[in-house]
Symmetry: C2
Subunit: 237 residues, 2 copies
Amino acid sequence: MSSTKEEAPAVRVLGLWASPFVIRVLIALRLKGVEHEVLEEVVGKKSELLLRSNPVHKKIPVLLHHGKPISESLIIVQYIDEVWSSNAPAVLPADPYVRAVERFWAQYIDDKFPRGIRILKGTVDGNKDEIVEQLSTALQLLEEAFLKLSNGKHYFGGDNIGYLDIALGSHVGWVRAVEKIAGVQLLDAAKVPHLVAWADRFCAHPAVMDVLPDADRFVEYSVKYGSFFPTRSSTTK
Amino acid sequence: MSSTKEEAPAVRVLGLWASPFVIRVLIALRLKGVEHEVLEEVVGKKSELLLRSNPVHKKIPVLLHHGKPISESLIIVQYIDEVWSSNAPAVLPADPYVRAVERFWAQYIDDKFPRGIRILKGTVDGNKDEIVEQLSTALQLLEEAFLKLSNGKHYFGGDNIGYLDIALGSHVGWVRAVEKIAGVQLLDAAKVPHLVAWADRFCAHPAVMDVLPDADRFVEYSVKYGSFFPTRSSTTK
């Protein structure tokens, strides 16, 4: 059936396939089974719709829900969880304490990984050895957090992918890409075995596999676009 | 009645009176009517309890609830709202879209104000004129956000103090202090009249007035402790 009246879909995402922050939004929508359209931005340009929808930061991702814009990836993920709360699974854990713990680590991840990845890619200046050290420490802490939170199950969220799975998992593609680009090892099975196994499971999950490209595609992107590393949707401090 | 058995109160806050991030937690607890004890840290030192409770960032505030630690001020405020959800008023708005908008601005505030305030205090290097310009722009955007969100009422949260009131209001004391220290004007009634009136109302609110000292006390603190500006409870990027 074709529609004669043009109407924007209820849910649209302004994004770019290589952005971990966009990938978060797409995973959350897929987990919740929310139909959506992705409007792919052109690398290095910003569409009029993007500039109008996120005038403060001018960054992807933006979720447009019936035309109303929501920015900042983790805020969008929470919004999706709250709006489609009756669509299983819940993304945020039910227990307030566990929510607080997951929010803590999600914030920690965004403090450490985007900057570290940029430095290892060579698009931002910094001491690569120091960054490898910092990210390895971060992964060690996250390995410990995984053991506590997953409680012997497959994900940080238990049986299902949850908020912290999305927050960290969205970076896995770039982490593996910069391992190749910079010739370093971060997701090291000898040091963080549970996290390495978790990363494999996460990437193979039906809600993830089609929207999280493998490392080689990120490496190609990096070669092609260099400094146009997709940034998080907030200002850089 | 005196208790012979020593027992830690159910809710304790590791804090420092001059920290805007600690002030957030205290306001939320007071709004919800939650009894609590404040354990004041000594400036420039970190207690064993703090180091043990927040081993990742080693920063205040930490909320201890039945001994379980929660860190990061805005995460704590959400935790308080969720745990004592039946205690009016709700801190987060009920509508998911408004929640997302308030979370967006709260994150924006923590991107702009702490660093700007440190530079105007002179404890961090930076161009003061540029910072005044940036903070003035931020306040202008927040004035516009206030007009939309408050809908003619007293607070960002409407009739009651909400999440965004707490996020921005906690910085008002230091904003007014650095106006004196650096000889600049930020909360300018000619430019952001609604925000100036809101700030006065916020500071006079019963849940706020006893925990948000006036500007002169922050100026004194600044003179006394110099670089020991209370930092947010996350790592600085």
